[in-house]
């Protein structure tokens, strides 16, 4: 065995080089693709995405069953009352509901697992010995998380739109400010809402990545991220803490309704996006500070 096969494997450098070097971008894409396939081909993550798709369906059915009465305009959560009149609002209602728990939980699971899972499995030491490069590995991990956040928001939005269109009439969208815009313009606004929510989740993912870099127990990391998110949401609802509200990581999550006014309420939107960006940068830096110096003993 072997000698022949190994020499046949040997073309690696010399022949590979002769055929021209492969640029770093190709290597980044290849590594990112590998990372994405790990995330998206994992049954647990697919189940989470399925739940994200199923909840809008449940909300839609529930609203369809209760729609004749209308149920009192003042009491229903935002967007719910509009769903009966326009299925597009089911997407907004779904994002609104899922942002409370399920969406952050999904992101927490994947983000908490990102580094801690590799450490817990022991695959981290092999990745680093390859060497994947610590900065590069962290960058790839975060890029994959951001893509997962986008996918999660897209799943909710698309599932809600489909079920909304199936159960309710769909037409020109009446914004929160009372103006009515065309369906196409409404869908565009909805796409921006989904992107805004994905940005919020990407900030949470950065927090998750940092926490994940501190442990080799993914469950611990996931729990910590969720506790942090819930603590922030609770604090955000306590009026006595009003001073710190704008600085809480979850405070701006629901500000996507700024996109549903005419004109768009830019200050709220910028505040939100700035908050997400700052959180991503701070926790990205924490993750890097930890990961670049940590002894990998798992």
């Amino acid at each position: 065995m072997s000698t022949a096969e190994v020499t046949s494997a040997r073309p690696d450098h010399p022949a590979g080089r002769a055929a021209g070097p492969v640029g770093p971008v190709i290597h980044w894409i290849r590594f990112l693709r590998s990372e994405l396939s790990l995330i998206f081909l994992r049954w647990r993550n697919l189940a989470l995405l399925a739940v994200l798709a199923a909840i809008p369906v449940l909300i839609g059915i529930a609203l369809k069953l209760s729609s004749p009465g209308g149920g009192g305009d003042g009491q229903g959560p935002a967007f719910f009352v509009q769903v009966a009149g326009n299925g597009v609002f089911l997407a907004l209602a779904s994002l609104n509901v899922l942002l409370i728990l399920v969406l952050p939980l999904t992101v927490a699971v994947v983000a908490g697992d990102s580094v801690a899972g590799e450490a817990g499995h022991g695959t981290l030491r092999y990745l680093l010995a390859i060497p994947a490069g610590r900065a590069r590995l962290l960058g790839i991990k975060y890029a994959a998380l951001v893509i997962f956040c986008l996918a999660a928001c897209a799943v909710v939005t698309v599932a809600a739109l489909l079920i909304g269109a199936a159960l309710f009439p769909v037409g020109p969208v009446t914004l929160l400010s009372g103006t009515t815009i065309s369906l196409g313009a409404g869908l565009l606004r909805l796409a921006f809402v989904a992107l805004y929510v994905a940005a919020a989740m990407a900030a949470l993912a950065a927090i998750g990545l940092a926490i994940s870099a501190f442990t080799e127990h993914p469950i611990g990391a996931i729990a910590a991220i969720m506790v942090l998110a819930l603590a922030s949401e609770v604090s955000d609802s306590v009026p006595q803490f009003a001073v710190v509200h704008p600085y809480l990581p979850t405070h701006w999550w629901l500000s996507f309704d700024a996109l549903l006014r005419s004109p768009i309420a830019w200050p709220d939107l910028w505040h939100g996006l700035a908050s997400f960006g700052i959180y991503a940068v701070i926790f990205g830096a924490i993750a890097w500070a930890r990961f670049s110096t940590a002894d990998v003993t798992s």
Binding site: A9, H13, P24, S34, G122, P131
Partner: protein, 345 residues
Amino acid sequence: MTSASRAAGQRDEISFGSVDDQPMPAAARSQPPGAAGPAITTSGLTKRFRGGQVAVDGIDLAVPHGAVYGFLGPNGSGKTTTIRMLLGLVHPTSGSHELLGVPMPAGTNTILPRVGSLVEGPAFYSQLSGRANLARFDAADRTADPRTADARIRAALDRVGLLSAARKHYRAYSLGMKQRLAIAAGLLRPRELLILDEPTNGLDPQGTREVRGLIRDIAADGTTVFVSSHLLAEVEQICSHVGVMRTGRLVFEGTLDDLRSRGTARILVRTAQPAGAAEVLAKLGLADVRTGEHEASAQLGGQAPEEICAQLVHSGVPVAGLATPRPSLEDLFVELTGEGFRVDG
């Protein structure tokens, strides 16, 4: 294999033009980088963990180029921590080291692609197949050519005999298959240095023999192999050089022959009259005469065994057998590493 054909598999930054295939003497430390210097050198390498526990205490390794170097020591003597430092996974508290003549950790990105490793047992993604696992690790290597990935993965799997199980899920692999997959990961591309931490841990005798054969093959290709073990027998069969660790310190480094020559040879006489034999041995001036059931022994000193035999026969001692055993390596290791060393595994 000649050095020229070996160099063909290497990158061109460093040329190994004039290496002969003789393992270098252990004394050949600290050659300038770029020459065919030692594959691994460490100088005062120390790791003190946060609890204050010193896992590795100022070790100076010199692993000659082309050697199969056995890194021996009891469990907990600092072998794995040393290997983790060599690979840049753990940051040394003090001291420095070079791999293939290049200082680490500065050379991490340029040198580690030329180093294959197995650290503290195999670790893979249980939901992926063997092939997909290797593809994952190959994708993480920014110096591996994606165009040759499939062929290289195939060759690596073939080399460890896993080609038929390539599509099986890793979680369905036996321990021996997992271990072999880990070695395959180290062989995804030609390496100049292979660092294997306990490669036969947990394997049955059959698997152990396969891995040993694999290591011999790899070494025959000119790859320097650094293999840690707590099993003496393993090291004795495949290694040209050994380093022995004891509680974080390197207590011996050299060739196996160096180690053997540390022991003093004895003469052992098998006889029906041990007492008579012992008397003759003592009369000949041999030290440390001992008797056992049907045998007598003494330190050989400088005397010729055949003359001792003649004397015994001359004195009427029936000699059923004569041997001049040196202390087994096992004895020497126990001596070096102290109690608690598992020589038999």
